[in-house]
């Protein structure tokens, strides 16, 4: 295997010493199996011990290693040096404040996820009392869902919370208050789940100006999603729901 060398230019930033971020280039040897995550590990081990970045599973399921590679949001563990000819520019995930090097502040993302109540609300089955019972008795508390019911929301449930969609979304870039693709997709995922009865609790955020209506269907979110969740579809289906909700609220008599 030829041992080629890649110029990996990384946007560095040390909050204690730097006024603003600056680019620094590192030479990284690679073969046809080297991932960007491997390259960062090489840089940290051999060239720059102070380089800071998040990572964990190295197999595109934990969502930790999101960053910009030549202006496109990618997971470092799923990005391979063999696909780039000679030069890669790595920056922290776009549209989020930089804490240090490739580490960003994801608080707005986390808060948005929490705000849309990402859990089953109002599961109508009889409560379990924690005591052992006959299997037939316990089964009454189990909410049933057919494969067809699951299929309605399954794609939207595959989100690994990596934040690439927020980095890709220009409307989030232009409006940092936007609830964002992943959160709105998750809200839609729960609204579509037959076991859930909490749609009314999620609608206010969905219906707000920072909810689905900030989206203009650019579609970049779906384009970069490593799990093919298709958040663009979820959000725009959400617009349909929100519009229906608007019309229904107009027809209801004022309380």
């Amino acid at each position: 295997m030829t041992n080629q060398v890649m110029n990996v230019e990384i946007l560095r930033y040390n909050p204690e010493t730097d006024k603003e971020p600056y680019l620094k280039t590192y030479q990284v040897p690679y073969d046809n199996q080297t991932s960007l995550l491997d390259a960062l590990g090489y840089i940290k081990d051999r060239l720059e011990p102070e380089l800071s970045y998040r990572w964990s599973c190295r197999m595109a399921i934990c969502g930790s290693c999101g960053m910009m590679v030549n202006n496109i949001p990618k997971l470092a563990c799923k990005t391979f040096l063999r696909d780039y000819s000679g030069h890669m520019r790595i920056e922290a995930l776009a549209n989020f404040p930089i804490e240090r090097d490739l580490v960003v502040d994801l608080s707005h993302f986390i808060e948005s996820l929490e705000a849309i109540k990402p859990y089953i609300i109002g599961n109508k089955m009889p409560e379990l009392d924690g005591q052992p019972h006959e299997s037939a008795e316990l089964q009454k508390s189990r909410t049933k869902q057919t494969p067809k019911q699951l299929e309605k929301y399954r794609q939207f449930s595959m989100c690994i919370n990596c934040g690439l969609c927020y980095a890709a979304c220009p409307q989030f870039g232009l409006n940092p208050e936007f609830i964002g693709p992943a959160a709105l997709t998750m809200a839609h995922r729960y609204n579509l789940d037959n076991r859930d009865n909490g749609k009314a609790e999620r609608m206010p955020i969905i219906n707000g100006d920072n909810g689905v209506w900030t989206c203009t269907f650019v579609g970049a979110c779906s384009e970069v999603c490593p799990k093919h969740v298709n958040p663009a579809a979820a959000i725009n289906q959400g617009k349909l729901e929100s519009a229906k909700d608007f019309l229904i609220s107009m027809l209801k008599p004022k309380a």
Partner: protein, 114 residues
């Protein structure tokens, strides 16, 4: 912190109009531009059929649909486009949807005068 009970957005009505208009312009404008913009001025088709169509009540209805809805769709997109290129238009909503409303009134009056 995120406001968990924000004010309801006013977007739905204009979005619904935009959706209708986008569909009308998407399905009908290409053939319409072909007919009125190329075939008619080049004399390949005669204006008589179009004139007769416009004098019939059904034709007038069709003309209203073909003009009003796409106008709302186009102006809605331009309004959002201003935000995309960071051009701040003061009272943008009022201006763009006001223009659409004006166009609607003028179109109705125009068609009624045929």
């Amino acid at each position: 912190m995120i406001n968990t009970n924000p004010k309801r957005s006013n977007e739905p009505p204009v979005w619904l109009l935009f959706s209708a208009g986008g569909m009308v312009s998407g399905l009908a404008f290409p053939v319409l531009i072909l007919i009125l913009g190329i075939l008619l001025p080049l004399g390949i088709i005669s204006p008589d059929g179009i004139i007769a169509f416009a004098h019939h009540w059904f034709g007038k209805l069709v003309i209203l649909v073909l003009t009003i809805f796409p106008a709302w769709a186009g102006l809605h997109r331009i309004h959002h486009g201003m935000h995309d290129i960071k051009v701040h238009v003061p009272a943008g909503g009022l201006i763009f949807y006001g223009l659409a409303a004006l166009y609607t009134v003028v179109a109705i009056w125009g068609v009624a005068s045929i």
